[in-house]
């Protein structure tokens, strides 16, 4: 009888310890991001408090992440949804949000975090009908390719985390400052390394690079695509080739999610160097983080100019 009592007591004690241990270990904040840069920022700012899942793995097009039903359970339980904004994700995100049945991350709710807050878009279309294509409806959304604007996104993510989880405000702010310091040091290094890129002319497949070009002083001549999201016509290619020849454009950038054939042909016809550049972390090997990706971009462009 005594033995039994003792055993029950031990069990109760074990249970109590386990339970208190359990409750002290709060469940992590669940963050879903559309693209991998935002996931990297969220991990850096959120630290141990967050569990981050990115819809894109890094090799997708920023406008064309497949709508997988397997995303829905993730989105359904998410506390925060981080997105690029400016309509960048309009081809997949609105439908996913709707199907995920999670009011926390709907537009207008605190869990819906548009990281473009505070960024002035370039290339806002003069007319908004579909004659301008539809993937850049509110201006160019590829601002993260400028690391100074990436700072703004990092701060936005921190602000959203603080707003939603004020109990960890001190940790988030400290993490943000540490990451921004790291980024600032890198920005200085990138600007220095990119000095040779000043005035260098280039074209790309999709209009990914206006912010990047502005930051590092490159001269962005045009795109292979007719309009964002609309494939080129033969006449557009011809005009682009003539323009490139006239202006002696030395670089053709191909983002890896676009087919190589047309950019390679244009490079061959104009004598330009064909360069493959990722548009988000994970786009090519060894670009797992945002900083690694920016390193890769600068290194590759500088290498192409040196040729």
């Amino acid at each position: 009888m005594k033995m039994k009592c003792l055993r029950s007591l031990v069990w109760a004690a074990v249970a109590a310890v386990t339970l208190t241990g359990w409750s002290a270990q709060a469940a992590p904040i669940r963050i879903v991001t559309t693209l991998t840069d935002l996931a990297d920022f969220a991990r850096n700012v959120g630290g141990d408090h967050v569990e981050v899942f990115s819809l894109a793995t890094g090799i997708e097009d920023t406008h064309g992440v497949p709508m997988k039903p397997s995303f829905l359970p993730r989105l359904n339980r998410a506390d925060l949804l981080l997105l690029i904004g400016f309509g960048c994700e309009h081809a997949f995100l609105p439908a996913l949000i709707e199907a995920s049945k999670n009011p926390r991350i709907e537009y207008g709710h605190p869990g819906y975090v548009d990281c473009s807050q505070g960024i002035d878009p370039v290339g806002v279309p003069k007319s908004t009908d579909h004659s301008q294509g539809d993937v850049h409806p509110y201006g160019n959304p590829h601002y993260l390719l400028d690391p100074v604007l990436a700072r703004t996104a990092v701060s936005n993510i921190c602000a959203a985390l603080v707003q939603n989880f004020p109990q960890y405000a001190a940790d988030f702010t400290r993490n943000r400052d540490a990451y921004l310091a790291q980024l600032d040091a890198k920005i200085a290094a990138w600007e220095q390394a990119a000095a040779v890129l000043k005035g260098v002319k280039f074209v790309s497949y999709h209009e990914h690079w206006p912010y990047f070009a502005k930051r590092f002083g490159l001269d962005y001549i045009g795109t292979i695509e007719l309009k964002p999201g609309i494939d080129p016509t033969p006449r557009h290619i011809e005009e682009l080739v003539n323009e490139m020849k006239a202006q002696h454009v030395p670089i053709v950038v191909r983002e890896p999610q676009f087919p190589e054939k047309v950019p390679a042909l244009i490079a061959k016809q104009t004598g330009a160097t064909l360069v493959k550049l990722p548009i988000m972390p994970g786009g090519v090997p060894h670009t797992g983080t945002y900083i690694e990706m920016m390193d890769y971009l600068i290194r590759t462009m500088v290498g192409a100019v040196a040729k």
Partner: protein
């Protein structure tokens, strides 16, 4: 800034108000001029906003630089609060102006409005009497639909949409205006539930609730036409549940006054019991086979316990020629889709294999002496009547391969047994080629060969279709079209 926008709008509106009498008196010239002025005014407002944004941005950049200089990254001392506040204020201002600019875009209108047009040019080798089609043989041009889509939020708890279709009547060519969908859907029910009410396409199978112009081919598969009766339109209620699992599972149940081909009910009667409603359900799930390969599978059921003589009393014909009346509708479906959607370049390359198998098991009252026919001298039971079930199968399977951003092609195989007589069956083979210039402008060429069984008495026929579909205004990349 917002005040300026408002002023611009007010000015534009008053300009329109003033211009109305001008138009009435035929002063088109003046109207043109005023329009030009309005346009210029609008552009000026936009330009001013841009200039303001740029000026603010410059100030902001300068301040941020100042702040960065003041606080070296290494020291985590608090920044000069006054500067930080100034930066924040400027930041807020920039955001406000940017937001105001966004509001000018049509996408921000509530509700969102879009129009879909679809024209079918075709050539059929045989006349309508031999194909059972409602379109003539030979050459044909047919404005199949002009569809108006309107959608928006109702309040914080629901959204609603209306799809109105002015389709050409197959015979007269006159526009037939109808409401295809008009439904309200909750957005804030607890426990992962969504309730849809009104007129909508009930969730049965894979393509039953997809609009004609969004199908991967020109025509609706024969099995869906035979067993559902076109799009799965219903007037009713539908509840969808996403169970809180790591695995995606979707469960839908619904009840409605009609479903697909039987809307409106052939015989609503003057008093109805609950068992005369249609009940349906669907359970589906999804697997990532690899990052690039996907599998979706589902089972569906539709049951109408008492179809209330759908199609008319003794209007149907059994296999042996006896007249009969439908009194119960049962339909089951099994569907799957295997697709290759490469993460890296799915806009340029993809492969889809979709298949749906349907089993119709309707119950009929067979009346060999036709005594129940309302036209018989004394309509009534004479004792020869008996119940019979007819089990019929139907299937369609298609493969679509996309090899270019604008080009895709595929092959559709169709097989269906008549729901009243499973010996009467049809096969069809349709290769198709799609050229999508953009996702609002699409041409499709399709050839269809149809073989009917001997039981039908119909000869084989061939048809060529050229479908041209376009969208203007708001467009959605909806969940069902993924």
């Amino acid at each position: 800034m917002k005040a300026l926008t408002r002023f611009g709008l007010a000015f534009a509106l008053s300009a329109v108000a003033i211009s109305v009498p001008a138009q009435e008196t035929g002063e088109v010239q003046q109207l043109h001029q005023q329009l030009q002025e309005m346009k210029e005014n609008f552009e000026r407002v936009q330009k001013e906003q841009r200039a303001q944004i740029e000026a603010l941005q410059k100030q902001l950049d300068a301040l941020q630089r100042q702040q960065q200089a003041a606080v070296t990254p290494a020291t985590s001392a608090p920044p000069a609060t006054a500067t930080a506040e100034q930066v924040q204020q400027l930041q807020d201002k920039v955001n406000e102006v940017v937001e105001a600019q966004k509001k000018i875009l049509p996408g921000e209108f509530n509700p969102a409005i879009g129009v879909v047009g679809e024209t079918i040019f075709s050539y059929h080798s045989r006349g309508a009497d031999q194909t059972g089609s409602d379109r003539p043989g030979g050459f044909d041009a047919f404005q199949r639909s002009v569809e108006l889509n309107v959608s928006g939020s109702v309040d914080p708890f629901a959204k609603a949409w209306v799809v109105a279709n002015a389709s050409a009547d197959a015979q007269s060519g006159e526009a037939n205006f109808g409401i295809e969908e008009a439904a309200l859907e909750t957005t804030s029910l607890p426990a992962n539930l969504t309730l849809t009410a009104g007129r909508f396409f009930g969730e049965f199978g894979r393509l039953g609730y997809i609009h004609d112009h969004e199908l991967p081919f020109v025509n609706r598969p024969l099995a869906l036409d035979e067993y559902i009766g076109g799009e799965s339109r219903t007037d009713g209620l539908q509840l969808n549940w996403l169970p809180p699992l790591n695995q995606f599972v979707s469960l839908t149940v619904g009840v409605g006054d009609s479903f697909g081909g039987d809307s409106p009910l052939a015989n609503p009667g003057n008093y109805r019991v609950f068992s005369e409603a249609n009940f349906w359900g669907r359970l589906s799930t999804y697997f990532d086979l690899t990052p690039d390969w996907q599998l979706e599978a589902g089972v569906s059921g539709l049951w109408n316990p008492n179809t209330d003589d759908r199609g008319g009393v003794n209007a149907l014909t059994a296999a042996n020629g006896d007249p009969m009346t439908e009194h119960e509708r049962r339909l089951a479906g099994l569907d799957f889709k295997v697709s290759y959607v490469p993460l890296r370049n799915n806009e340029f390359r993809s492969l889809t294999w979709g298949t749906e198998l349907l089993y119709s098991d309707n119950r009929y009252l067979v009346d060999p002496d036709n005594s129940l026919n309302p036209a018989s001298p004394v309509p009534g039971l004479t004792g020869d009547e008996f119940n019979a079930g007819v089990g019929s199968l139907g299937l369609y399977s298609y493969v679509t391969y996309k090899w270019h951003r604008q080009w895709s092609g595929g092959f559709l195989f169709d097989w269906v047994q008549d729901p009243q007589n499973h010996d009467n069956q049809a096969f069809a083979y349709s290769p198709y080629l799609t050229w999508a210039l953009s996702h609002w402008n699409q041409l499709r060429l399709q050839y269809t060969h149809t073989d009917h069984s001997a039981a039908s008495g119909l000869p084989a026929d061939d048809a060529v279709y050229l479908q041209w579909a376009w969208i203007i205004g708001a467009h959605s990349h909806g969940w069902t079209q993924r």
